[in-house]
Point group: C2
Chain length 225, copies 2
């Protein structure tokens, strides 16, 4: 039984998770301090508590790593964070760049059943509005990769995370099509002849992109099994 963690403890676990690149590398005191906006001394104190609770591994001067229990908790927090972000964007109409702060708070709500119901209500999304994958209940998440619309298989669905070229005309063109960072794009078809693609933006009507535009539009997608 993990006696109910404080918000702070949960945030430390999450920070360690992210800094260790999904829990694989060891994290040192200073970078944790920077990421948590606090001092190395405070981090040191907290790291001892978490180690004492068997959530992280810690040896003096050697940095910390998530233990399996700690990693599992970190992943449920990431899951909650990303599901709430989907809620805020899809249901409440926030922009993708407005939701992080709110999700930072919502991710700590404790309730058996809440997240399961939220997940269902949202239609079991696999990606958050920033294009990051959402772990399932067991902490497993689909691999994501970044690719341009030009190289992706037909029927792929993903979130716009970057535009490779910062040409003003291109940006204006995308804007006029209603494409921005965070837009959810489904690739409907591709013409072999000229490499142009037809897409749907946020479930909207079919629209066309020329090959050069498609090549510069990067999305993240979860690889379908």
């Amino acid at each position: 039984m993990v006696s109910e963690l404080s918000f702070t403890e949960e945030n430390y676990l999450k920070a360690i998770y992210h800094l260790s690149r999904e829990g694989n590398e060891s994290v040192n005191t200073n970078s944790l301090a920077e990421s948590m906006n606090t001092t190395p001394a405070s981090v040191n104190d907290m790291v001892k508590r978490l180690a004492h609770k068997n959530l992280i591994g810690y040896q003096k001067y050697k940095g910390t790593t998530l233990l399996s229990k700690g990693k599992k908790i970190a992943l449920t927090i990431v899951r909650k964070h990303r599901l709430w972000e989907v809620f805020l964007v899809d249901k409440l109409g926030f922009r993708w760049d407005e939701v992080h702060e709110i999700a930072e708070q919502l991710e700590h709500i404790k309730s058996p059943g809440l997240i399961k119901r939220l997940d269902k209500f949202l239609g079991y999304p696999t990606m958050d509005p920033h294009g990051d994958p959402i772990p399932n209940e067991d902490g497993v998440m689909k691999e994501t990769r970044r690719a341009s619309i030009a190289e992706v298989t037909i029927h792929s669905e993903g979130i716009v995370v970057a535009v490779n070229d910062d040409d003003t005309l291109l940006l204006q063109h995308l804007d006029s099509l209603g494409i921005k960072l965070g837009s959810r794009i489904t690739v409907l078809d591709r013409t072999d002849f000229d490499g142009s693609v037809s897409i749907s933006i946020d479930e909207g009507p079919e629209q066309f992109l020329s090959k050069p535009v498609a090549e510069n539009l990067m999305i993240t997608l979860t690889d379908k099994k």
Copy 2:
């Protein structure tokens, strides 16, 4: 500028609000302690802090009252609590008696804009799933009253909060009609001849209640202006 209150401070204000019957009467230390599940000594400490912040009035041995700033905060918390309860029941499918604990946490989420959007998403409800009125942004809420289905004007809408008679047959009858505490009932029509009424439960199809049933079914309703 109210420098951002802690969850605990917010909870004290809310407790004072409820114990003072919507902020009108003075609240004594012991009852606050009981309601907050803590000791009179702790209450005394906290009361001093809140008085120092000009949120409540306090004189030694005289109990506390909400000041206007404190009352306003208390009301926004009540508003948030009740709106989240509507969300949990209407959107996520929780039962009315499962949501209090979760709303106790959600009510402390801080975000400019979140509650406004949530309110809109929920269709600007005026009552929570327990039949309690939801304060508007300015802390004003509609008066509610309890009445039996038999005495209410046609087209009234309210939440079932009690069954006056605990006769098993009546309870079974209500159950078979799909009526339970928390059901939202709209009174569609009433027959003068026998006092029977037709109603809709949770926006469902028309159903009929005999006069004795209607007389025992209590709802809360907000008086339409």
